[in-house]
């Protein structure tokens, strides 16, 4: 059987630029997920700027309540069915930059467990606790006047950013994990017989979402 293993060429890591001007999107249709409650914007316009409240329209009329927004995935979930209605949105999405020069990259997702074992149990029993996630990456360090992504890493500081980790970033088909995060560590390392490297850790702040795309 042919393998479905994924080449490292298809791994990609994008982060948002907190200093860049967010990109406008206007009157974009949100597609019904099928339940008439959750509607999502097209792939290219996801990753909404959390500092810019979008305007949501139901049949061209702006609405301000009765829904929640998932800024990472560009989805709106209504409390009541919107069957038969056209849902659109106007707002801003983050500009993202691909980090280049990666030599390794790892997405780690964890769930804690809470021990609920009782004396009468022969086996330990547990329930789920909180989840957490992070991205750790080794990469070449570049002079930031030459490479925009290096300049971005050096400017971020402790500001929040969007992360898009693509284990599969082909032209016609994509898988990515998205969420809000902070740049927790950035170590720059030099030695006599090697190129300058850096190791970064991006720590998730809140949920991580999976998205897929097919052309």
């Amino acid at each position: 059987m042919a393998t479905s293993a994924v080449s490292p060429r298809l791994l990609a890591l994008y982060i948002s630029d907190p200093d860049a001007v967010s990109t406008d999107f206007t009157d974009q249709t949100l597609v019904d997920s099928g339940d008439h409650l959750t509607y999502q914007i097209a792939w290219a316009n996801r990753g909404w700027d959390i500092n810019e409240t979008p305007t949501i329209y139901v049949d061209a009329t702006p609405v301000s309540s009765g829904f929640t927004i998932n800024y990472a995935t560009g989805a709106v979930t209504f409390t009541e069915s919107q069957e038969g209605s056209t849902i659109t949105a106007t707002g801003k999405r983050y500009a993202t930059t691909q980090l280049i020069g990666l030599t390794t990259s790892k997405l780690s997702v964890s769930n804690k467990v809470i021990d609920v074992s009782a004396m009468e149990d022969s086996w330990e029993e547990s329930i789920k606790g909180k989840g957490d996630w992070s991205v750790s990456t080794d990469m070449w360090w570049y002079c930031d006047t030459d490479v925009p992504s290096q300049d971005l890493l050096d400017r971020i500081g402790d500001r929040e950013l969007w992360v898009q980790f693509y284990p599969y970033n082909a032209a016609a088909s994509k898988v990515r994990f998205v969420g809000r995060a902070i740049l927790e560590t950035q170590d720059v390392d030099g030695s006599q017989n090697d190129a300058m490297k850096q190791m970064i850790t991006i720590k998730g702040d809140g949920p991580l979402e999976k998205e897929t795309y097919s052309a």
């Binding site: 479905s4 293993a5 994924v6 490292p8 791994l11 030599t103 997405l107 780690s108 022969s122 329930i127």
Partner: protein, 133 residues
């Protein structure tokens, strides 16, 4: 005498009854805690059995669409979800296996310049593990 050893690749990990595709390695660890009851009357440490525990760890090629990998992924991305039914097979026919319920506690997707993307995962058992044969 012919060996009764079995191939390591028979050690398939299943989520419900779906095998994790392109598994590279897998391990089930079953433990029993012990309770120290040593006392002045004895010259040697003595123990009684405490609670049992178990976990499964594995590594697989990351695949874009695989039912079992997706089940672990979906579960760990939702901290409010409940446990998964898991099996660790120990024969070719798949009718001899360990089974129980487990929470995914770790899911790492890892790539480098010179290797394919791999996923490393840990499933922490909750409740009993049983051998079904």
């Amino acid at each position: 005498m012919a060996s009764s050893a079995i191939k390591g690749s028979y050690g398939i990990i299943q989520i419900a009854t779906n095998a994790i595709g392109e598994l590279i390695s897998g391990k089930i660890t079953i433990g029993n805690k012990t309770i120290d009851v040593s006392n002045y009357d004895e010259d040697w440490d003595e123990f009684i059995k405490g609670k049992g525990n178990w976990s499964i760890t594995g590594r697989a090629n990351f695949v874009v669409s695989g039912t079992a990998q997706a089940a672990i992924e979906t579960n760990i991305l939702d901290p409010t979800s409940t446990y998964l039914a898991v099996r660790f097979l120990i024969n070719a026919a798949g009718d001899d296996y360990y089974s129980g319920n487990a929470h995914p506690t770790q899911w790492d997707v890892d790539g480098s310049n010179t290797t394919q993307l791999v996923v490393d995962f840990t499933l922490q058992g909750t409740g009993a593990i049983a051998r079904e044969a």
